[in-house]
Amino acid sequence: MNNQTDSKNGTDIAIENGVAGTGANGDGVNETGEEESGGGATGGRAGKRRALRAAAAVCAFLLLSALLLAFAQALVVPKYMSFPYEGGMVREYYGSGYGHSAVFIGDCEFYECVNPLVLWEEYGINSYVRGSSQQLIWHSYYYLLETLRYETPKVVVFNAVEMKIGSVQHEEYTRLTLDGLRLSRYKLEAAKLSLTEGESLLSYVFPILRYHSRWSELNSDDWKYLFRRDPVTFNGYLLMTGVKPRTSEIVRPLTDPSFPDVCWEYLDKIRETCAENGIELLIFKAPTNTWHYPWYDEWDVQLVGYAERYEGVRYVSAITEEDAVGIDWSTDTYDAGDHLNELGAAKVSSWIGRILRDDYGLPDESGDPDLSASWDRTAARYAEELAKKGGPSHAGTDS
């Protein structure tokens, strides 16, 4: 027992190590620190104990405050377990097991056009799509750097469409792209380059600074997913099963043949990073091309020229290869051609999988029991989700 009595404001509080009680057998000090009994050494020990108690109280207070803030933050940040699912996909990468031979980095053209499950089933290629809504090219660069902390793929496939946009269009998209990233200097660098007026970098470290106003809008998902999330993708692929044919004949004219300088700058950084790490860089344009999200021959020419200038870089466009890909715009899109549905994504994946196998020599890893077991689980979850969503699928079901 190590008891002492502290007299403050006329009230005695007796504290022992973890047990409160009235002081007995203890050395007492009054509020001025004068010894009530015992010698000078004892008084010094009592002072130390008081200092320790104060420090412990401060620590406990800080810890409790931090826990409360962490709880409040976990509560108010958007969970993205319903539309828009795009905000929930980024964090899933960290549970993917890594070791992918191909990593796709890009925006919606990738996470709705490339289905890693098809790459696995048809070629045994273990891949992942690190996608996010309107991912900008510097986001992709930092995604790449962050990816290299966890794995070094043989091929990085980069989304050509990101060459179009050289500035942040909406803060919302930045949040969807960066909030799910683990805190690292890469996340902060990407955020720093994306800040819009009035935004603070600190809000990417402490999202509660951004989302505190959701306090009054909390719903059941905020409580249900307070400390966990359900997966919303299949190795980064967001399953869309609707069908809305592309029928529009509207043409949006080219207004700027040049890509922004910042896009070239970060394409160079991506290329150099890949080269330094022995990674092949495949720049890829998905087959989508509409008035809403147009793509032009003038842009193709520039990327073909870029790829020709550098070893280990290649550009392929599924627009110019549309016949080979086999896209049918009456069945393979869910939003009139802006994005692909499951049928279209399967065709693109099958096509690009052949390139990855034949031209890049990516291995068939279907013989790996651990990988196979992991993909079997993904396939089972996929089938379940497909049945839930309904609509046609490449496997031939139409529930």
């Binding site: 828009p84 909406h170 803060e171 509660i208 951004r210 505190h212 106003s213 306090w215 004219p253 080219l254």
Partner: protein, 184 residues
């Protein structure tokens, strides 16, 4: 006892601070959106007066339409379009729309629930710019009308005025398309 009271008071103070933090943002105005919009890029003009001066305008329906104009008053003046299409951005952030009229097409973009003119495109030679240039005219007529203050890239001649631009896509010295658009 006193210390316990103080500790509890401090915890309550932290909770109160959190509540204050939660309430200081007020309503986000986000409606059903999970993410409240806070800082969206604002490209449109809000002062109707500045829209007419210092911008390239397209005369139609008795109005002068400029890129960045609110769409609200424009469509009633122009009448029903021949066709109309809209497309949602991935994730959300509103609908982009296209209004197709005989001779021209208007592309719009949304900002905080309001549609603004992004681009006006002449689709045939039935429409003329305020200075009288049409699809099919020569590049010399363009420069005679608008001067030499253009930039050119891959056959696209661009004249900028304020947040608007007037473009002429030229092939073999002939104007193939004309568009008014917003520039940043």
């Amino acid at each position: 006892m006193n210390n316990a009271v103080k500790t509890i008071s401090l915890i309550l103070a932290v909770l109160a601070a959190l509540c204050g933090l939660a309430s200081c943002g007020g309503g986000s105005g986000a409606g059903d959106l999970t993410l409240p919009p806070e800082n969206t890029e604002v490209r449109h003009q809000t002062d109707a007066g500045t829209q007419r001066s210092g911008l390239y305008c397209f005369p139609a329906g008795g109005k002068y339409i400029a890129p960045g104009d609110e769409l609200t008053d424009i469509i009633p003046a122009l009448g029903n379009p021949v066709s109309f299409e809209q497309s949602e951005s991935c994730a959300y952030v509103g609908m982009d729309k296209v209004y197709v009229y005989n001779g021209f097409t208007i592309f719009t973009y949304p900002d905080n629930g309001i549609d603004y003119v992004l681009m006006i495109v002449f689709t045939d030679d039935s429409m003329a710019t305020a200075e009288g240039v049409r699809v099919g005219d020569s590049i010399s007529k363009v420069t005679a009308s608008y001067g030499q203050g253009f930039s050119e890239d891959s056959g696209i001649y661009t004249y900028k005025r304020g947040v608007s631009a007037l473009q002429f896509s030229v092939i073999n010295d002939t104007v193939r398309s004309i568009q008014y658009l917003c520039v940043e």
